[in-house]
Amino acid sequence: MIDLSVSIGALKLQNPVLTASGTFGYAEEFEGLIDFRLLGGIVTKTVTLDPRPGNSPPRIVELPNGMLNSIGLPNLGVERFITEKMPYLRRLGTRIIVNVAGRTGEEFVECVRRLETADGIDAYELNYSCPNVKEGGLSFSSDAHVAGRVTAAVRAVTKRPLITKLTPNVTSISDIGLACQDAGADAVSAVNTLVGMAVDIRTRRAKLATVTGGYSGPAIKPIALAKVYELARRLSIPVIGIGGICSAEDIVEFLLAGATAVQMGTVNFYEPTATVRAVEDLEKFCRAQNIFAVRTLIGAMEL
């Protein structure tokens, strides 16, 4: 029996495979396609204090080894999330991590405060880093001072595990990560999408309505891996690796580079069974390599 479990602070996961926010809806979209109980956990699509309609189309662009998106965090708002989405999520038999965003620090705090009234939430992930929100989600994760202040303010209203999701679109991701750690975050997750764009050479128009958007998918994996490595070296709290992860082999790379767990994102769109297959393959890999506990891989890269 291989022990696949890992811990993110007080949050125990049966295996290190989570779904990334914004790529797995509120799980109901995957009903009938996968067995949720096999996952380490689900990170929900972002929830904000008030409902948001999202951005104008076109919102997505396919690229050879990745995609651009500019969705703009459409969601029902926290109240309807609690009444309409949580009842389904809490009976799935897996960990539920609710991703939260706000236009201001106060909105983050207020959103979490409302979520505190709901049962069945195992942790929060603060989305500091969506590049597609005009009000400047980015400023929360591109300024260490602001990131620290918001993290501390949210920390003050919850005892649930707190994860801050970081953007790679900064000079030093680990400076931001350290500020979150010092402010009481239990873990960081990295990376969110990279800012990118694409132009239609015939119409001479940007392929996204918002011109620039977030780049994700297999193409960003090496960049994400380097950011995770940097974070894991400087931080003492766990790092959750995100960026182009599609398979058990990718997961092992992130663990070796220092991630404690991972999130799989873009792959869910075109291969909805990828997460559960990766869990199965991770176990096979460990068996073949005589690894009895997957956590022994964390940061075990040879230098």
Binding site: P51, G54, E62, Y270
Partner: protein
């Protein structure tokens, strides 16, 4: 949410149709039994470097044989690779997806307006209309004769009028011209219902004409989709009359791909 499946389907046939169109027949017993007209499937294209699956309207099904047919044309790398599959190959498919055409009991007569590959969902719909004993007229326009698809099958199930831009088959002109002429010659009766699918500018004109004649109708939209089942939220379709305080977009994959004409803004 309606039931959907991931099936490893077997390629039963790939038949070239005229210019650059293909009719692909897949053995997909679960999907064929669950599908309704107007729904679509997401096909993982093998041996090619496209990331996303490719969405296709279900052209027809044979539930007794467990078959699903799709119609496609070569537009890019994904469809080019799909045109190279061989009988016996396996294709991984998710479906049936989306909401199909609604055939309300008030519909007494159907008028189908299809442009180009927009004919794709209609053989299946005509089968359902036939089962409901609803007489149907199909107006079908393409650029030139070689682009016509499934005309024999349409004729078995409906009264069919064709047009081509170059006049090589049927009348010369666009299907919008044909629709205007048809409505002049056959003033619409109140229980006539319109079904349309085709290029965006065409459907926008059909929407305007339907409004002018106070005709109810449904349109099947095509958009880019990363997933096809509501997770990526990429396939936004603007609502015509958003309720205050709720979302202002539908999702083509989940709320559509078939919409009531009066509910949507048809957008490039």
């Amino acid at each position: 949410m309606a039931e959907k499946f991931i099936e490893n389907t077997r390629v039963v046939d790939l038949q070239p149709l005229g210019a650059a169109n293909f009719l692909l027949t897949l053995e997909a017993p679960l999907i064929s039994r669950a599908a309704t007209a107007g729904q679509f499937i997401q096909v993982a294209v093998p041996r090619c470097s496209v990331l996303w699956r490719r969405p296709f309207s279900i052209n027809d099904v044979s539930t007794e044989n467990g078959l699903v047919e799709i119609l496609f044309q070569i537009l890019g790398r994904g469809t080019r690779a799909l045109a190279e599959v061989k009988r016996g190959d396996t294709l991984n498919v998710i479906g049936p997806l989306g909401n199909g055409f609604r055939v309300e009991s008030t519909v007494r007569r159907a008028l189908i307006v299809a442009g180009g590959l927009g004919i794709a969902p209609f053989p299946f719909l005509l089968k359902r209309l036939g089962e409901a004993s609803i007489p149907s007229v199909v107006l079908y326009g393409v650029g030139r004769r070689e682009q016509l698809c499934c005309v024999d099958r349409l004729r078995e199930r409906a009264e069919v009028y064709l047009c081509t831009l170059d006049g090589s088959a049927g009348e010369q002109g666009t299907v919008v011209d044909l629709l205007e002429k048809h409505l002049r010659e056959n003033p619409p009766i109140p229980d006539l219902h319109l079904f349309t699918c085709g290029p965006t500018p065409m459907m926008r004109k059909v929407q305007t004409i339907a409004e002018k004649h106070q005709l109810s109708g449904q349109a099947s939209l095509e958009t880019v989709m990363a997933c096809g089942f509501g997770a990526c939220v990429g396939c936004a379709v603007p609502m015509r009359h958003p309720q205050p305080g709720v979302q202002e977009y539908y999702l083509a994959c989940k709320d559509g791909p078939v919409f009531n004409l009066e509910e949507i803004i048809i957008h490039d």
